[in-house]
């Protein structure tokens, strides 16, 4: 209780328009925010435990089920970690191109969903995209059409949109034929046009003038925008292989959350995702996306989390453009996968899920049985940074009535497209005042 008795507790028990279940708790004492917690109460599902004793070949199918929004990210980090353990690397050639291609599909699907269905309603003042569609039908329909192009790409390469079945350790079960690829081009070309329009449209939204401070962390893949592999780098000099993740980043378990919180040893919170990728690898974008970002006035090193919607739009251009390039030059590989023989080893895999870096580590036995598994999803890496944003938002807007303040807080959380099934989900907000 503060001296003037003005203690405010702001609590949101279910957060809407995020993927999963989470809640928010803010405590204000007088004019000071004293406590901020993003609670993740998505019930624990114990993936790391249930993977023990399973075959290394099962990891991509099982870990896909951590998240229905970004299953390909889970499959890709899993297969890279298993291949690393077995001494195999697919770092170039048609199999890697196919992996980039299906990953582009997931970026298109997930970013379209976030930009149009989850995030845009905050800027235009609607509770959700369905309500927004009554006044902005064309906007929502174009977002859905772009999303559909991403889903069609995933379904063709992966077999289906959610939990694709074609990704395996070593490559694919079956490589698509050129004839199967061709019908994807036209919808992707239209999606690329929509993505370009989305960049200018999002750049014209109203943004509060805020900055976030955490260290930005992303993969780095010289010559390409980081998606499917790379070294882990940061704006403050971190530059490590995925195998060194555990030496530099620790996960902590705190009482208020079912997600583990990650922090960089000795420095603290960090942020992964679009802002980090753009700050650290913006110069690796293909010319079309680079020009779109420049025309939109998107500044390199932008640290305003609200403006991440523009970065996602730029990444939509990049993903459509790269997908088209891969399809146009596609030659069917000689074999859909390479042989991967298990051995007693530890392997690491890190890839860029649409919402941030996703790290997997497995220890496997010589028969391929999983002995130990560790999975660090983007939302648990971003959780401390999101809490810092919340603290800032509440501190700046203490004068707002509770309802409006709650909405601002929810928006601050949605800026980071948290996936609560991976680590957290939604907020319902109740505010208590003394």
């Amino acid at each position: 209780m503060s001296e003037n008795g003005a203690t405010r507790i702001i609590r949101t028990d279910y957060l809407a328009r995020v993927e999963g279940e989470g809640a928010m708790y803010v405590k204000v004492d007088g004019e000071t925010v004293v406590d901020v917690k993003l609670r993740i109460y998505e019930p624990p599902r114990f993936f790391e435990a249930l993977l023990r004793g399973r075959s290394f070949t099962e990891a991509p199918d099982i870990t896909a089920r951590i998240c229905g929004i970004c299953p390909i990210a889970y499959q890709m980090s899993a297969v890279r970690a298993m291949e690393d353990a077995c001494g195999v690397s697919i770092d170039s050639g048609p199999l890697r191109d196919l992996r980039r291609l299906i990953y582009c599909g997931e970026w298109i699907e997930s970013h379209s969903l976030h930009v149009y269905m989850l995030h845009a309603p905050d800027f235009l003042g609607y509770p959700g995209a369905i309500e927004m569609a009554r006044d902005h039908g064309d906007v929502v329909r174009q977002g859905l059409e772009m999303k559909k192009a991403g889903n069609a790409l995933i379904a063709m390469v992966g077999g289906r949109e959610v939990h694709p079945i074609n990704i395996r350790v070593g490559g694919f079960y079956r490589a698509p034929t050129k004839a199967e690829m061709r019908p994807l081009l036209e919808p992707l070309q239209r999606a690329r046009e929509t993505a370009l329009a989305t960049v200018s449209w999002t750049a014209g939204l109203d943004f509060p003038d805020v900055t976030c401070e955490p260290e930005l962390v992303a993969l780095s893949d010289p010559g390409r925008y980081p998606i499917d592999l790379g070294r882990i780098v940061s704006g403050r000099g971190l530059e490590i292989a995925p195998a060194e993740f555990g030496a530099h980043i620790v996960e902590e378990h705190v009482e208020h959350s079912n997600a583990l919180h990650a922090r960089i040893r000795e420095r603290g919170s960090y942020l992964t995702g679009p802002l980090a990728r753009w700050a650290l690898s913006g110069d690796q974008l293909r010319p079309l996306a680079a020009a779109a970002a420049s025309d939109a006035g998107l500044e390199r090193g932008c640290r305003n989390p609200f403006r991440s919607i523009i970065v996602r739009a730029v990444e939509l251009v990049e993903a459509c453009d790269e997908a088209i390039a891969i399809i146009e030059s596609y030659e069917e590989p000689d074999a859909p996968s390479v042989e991967v023989t298990p051995r007693r080893a530890v392997g690491h895999g890190a890839t860029e899920a649409p919402r941030g870096m996703l790290y997997h580590r497995y220890e496997i036995d010589e028969d391929g049985s999983i002995l130990d598994a560790e999975i660090v999803p983007p939302t648990s890496q971003n959780q401390l940074a999101i809490e810092e944003d919340l603290r800032e938002v509440v501190q700046r807007h203490l004068d707002l009535p509770n309802e409006e303040l709650s909405l601002r807080c929810e928006q601050a959380i949605r800026n980071h497209d948290p996936c609560i099934s991976c680590a957290t989900h939604f907020l319902t907000l109740t505010v208590e005042r003394d």
Binding site: L15, A16, R17, V18, E19, G20, E21, E42, P43, P44, R45, F46, F47, E48, A49, L50, R52, S55, E58, D61, I62, R65, I66, G68, I69, P71, L113, M117, P127, G128, A129, I130, E131, A133, G137, V140, R141, L144, E145, K147, K148, N151, G159, R160, E161, V162, H163, I165, N166, R168, F172, Y173, R174, E252, H253, V254, E410, S421, H425, F426
Partner: protein, 257 residues
């Protein structure tokens, strides 16, 4: 509003969100559906909420906490029709693997402070807690089937969803049998149709994500897979995935322990 539009609520329990995402993946139909029904509660899509009762509740996820065991009772009370979607809601999902293990050990493997975690020792389907009007299988569900189920309930008829095996779908699709032609182990003969027999069309065996078909002969299939080289460990694993909690697959896996 001139006419009464039926209210639809979408609820989430322990799950990956992929099945409710299937509703948002109906890119061509979503806005039409939103015209025909009133989306009364769907947190993944909107902050707006209408209080119940609801004409149709769509439930994703399994029950893994005391809190959720109470919450599903409230959902049932508020709903005229309750439809479960996906393997979590109809069979307990991949998280039902805890039913074959010690959940305390699971907790301490994942969390440094197991005391902070509140969870049940089992993951159970919705039907273990409340009466369910319709169960749609799949990990994930097929969005076309979801629209069919919603449409059927709106017009008061039975959904046209077939309970035969994936084998029938392969025949219909013209896919050569991966077991007969290549000796690839495949759960198709015992697995509920609905996916469209995707895996065999991509040169891999079905892994049973739609759960057991009506009266599956798992013993016969297990014997065939053993002839093809699957050992006892493989046979436990193959039945113990996303529908491990279903009675037929649970029994089939225990037979090889």
């Amino acid at each position: 509003m001139a006419e009464h539009r039926p209210t639809v609520a979408v609820w989430k329990f322990s799950s990956c969100d992929g099945c409710q995402l299937s509703l948002l993946d109906c890119e061509d139909e979503l806005l039409l559906l939103a015209d025909r029904v009133q989306i009364a509660y769907f947190l993944e899509a909107t902050r707006a909420e209408l209080s119940g009762p609801y004409d149709i509740s769509i439930v994703e996820g399994s029950i893994t906490t005391e809190h959720d065991a109470r919450r599903i009772q409230d959902v049932r009370r508020l709903s005229s029709v309750l439809i479960t979607i996906g393997a979590c809601a109809t069979a307990g999902g991949i998280q039902a693997l805890r039913n074959f293990a010690d959940v305390r050990e699971f907790t301490s493997l994942v969390y440094a402070s197991p005391d902070f975690i509140s969870t049940l020792g089992t993951s159970t389907p919705i039907s273990a807690h409340v009466p369910v009007d319709y169960e749609l299988n799949g990990c994930p569900i097929n969005k076309t089937q979801l629209l069919e189920v919603i449409g059927a309930h709106l017009s008061g008829r039975r959904p046209r969803i077939r309970a035969h095996s994936v084998c029938v779908e392969c025949k219909r699709r013209g896919t050569v049998c991966v077991t007969v032609a290549h000796g690839t182990p495949c759960l198709g003969p015992v697995t509920h149709a609905g996916c469209g027999a995707i895996c065999p069309a991509y040169d891999r065996g079905c892994y049973g994500c739609y759960g057991p078909m009506e009266s599956p002969n798992t013993a016969s299939l297990s014997a065939r897979m053993a002839e093809l080289g699957s050992d006892e460990v493989d046979l436990v694993r193959v039945y113990r995935t996303f529908n491990a909690g279903s009675e037929a697959f649970s029994r089939a896996s225990r037979a090889h322990e």
